[in-house]
Amino acid sequence: MAEFKLNEAKLDELVNALKSEGYRVVAPVEEEGVFVFKEVVDPGEMRLDVLRTARSIKEWFFPRVEPTLRYKFDRGSVTCKGEMPQSPPKTVIIGCRPCDSASLPILDKLFDWDFRDEYWFKRREATTVVAVACDAPDSYCFCTSVGGSPDGTAGSDLLMRKTVGGCYLFESFTKKGWSIIETAKGTLEPAGQNEKVLVGEVPKRFDLNSVKPWLDNNFDHDYWKEISYKCLSCGACAFVCPTCHCFDIQDEADLQGGVRLKGWDSCCLPIFTRHGSGYNPRDTRDARYRQRVMHKFTYYVDKFGLTACVGCGRCCVSCPIDMNICTVVAGAAELAETST
């Protein structure tokens, strides 16, 4: 039950209140015709009406490129300096969608699997996530098919839900969420008992329960070839995806020393699995695309109990050739139905 609400006319005041309290405020902002999550300088830049930003919030926890180690060579010896995120500033991300915030608990599992990735967790600890529920999803959304919903709360500290009266209900679930409410007290009003909330609907497009067994038993099915002919093998889908997390380690050095970088990589890129010998087990597009779908919808489920897809639709929107993972998985579900 939401106790507070914010009139949308006071969004600027909210941002200012948060900034005065020392938060770095990150929200959807327009950058050269594309909406991305950026630090808000002028409160007017913040755009809570954007359904889907080009990229997800993962880059605020898992940057596109990040130094992990710096080293110097000196007369045959090497001195290393470990690079940790230097006390990441207190941050609040406002305006992500429930699908975006749902990606965080999914990735928490991976980054705490065989090694606790402090690069990820330090940022997680320093960041509060304020999601905005969706009142107008589009045809690319499929959160409800992967266990989410337009007003889901997984991964967020506070959920803002738009009302018919032009306000946002503030529902908090965590201590961090309550701190936001505390900070924003001056801008908030008490919420009524019967606030009419604008609710979006996302029809369910496939049943995960029928998909997974089909995926587990049809590794060699021709379906993979049929759907992947058009794939261009770029990294766009993986990079815009909230749950994709593969990374590459690159050393950039000269004769004096260098830096070891951790940066985004994509299993769809042609040389992702190329061995030092030159052999590449995933030499073809069908092998790579199959891997992408399997990893998200069955391997990750087996390892961590969660589907590594939140149904945001970004990959479908950004794909140069309109590869739609929802359609692909729904197709697999259909094959599952007809084969039983």
Binding site: P63, V65, E66, P67, P88, P89, E252, V259, L261
Partner: protein
Amino acid sequence: MAENEWKPKIIAFVCNWCTYAGADLAGTSRLKYDVNVRVIKLPCTGRIDPLFIIKAFEQGADGVLVSGCHPGDCHYTSGNYHARRRWIVFSELLRFFGIPEDRVQFAWVSAAEGAKWATLVNEVVAKVRQLGPFTAYRELETTEVLS
């Protein structure tokens, strides 16, 4: 000269048969010229990949000089002809991206033109000195994309 005064760093990519020999001649003739040029010898200007110039800037060069045999005199017959086309295009691209023209300069210096080499280097270094250190390029250095 104060110890921490900036000294321009110019990398010269030169061909072995003409310009390098010309530079040698400048040396044997005891011609004095600006010392802020580091020479990298290649068989031919046709071997010089534009990426070498990019790498030079990445590694801290303030300016680059490319020099080889005069057209028609290439030791490999046509290497410098191909290079000429390549540099015409590449220099326009760099200029379009906002890199000042005087930071990348091109010349033909033959094996007999020791004096020309000396004058050329002095000219190139003077121009780069005027422009100052190419900190703008080094500021593209590895940084955390998001803090």
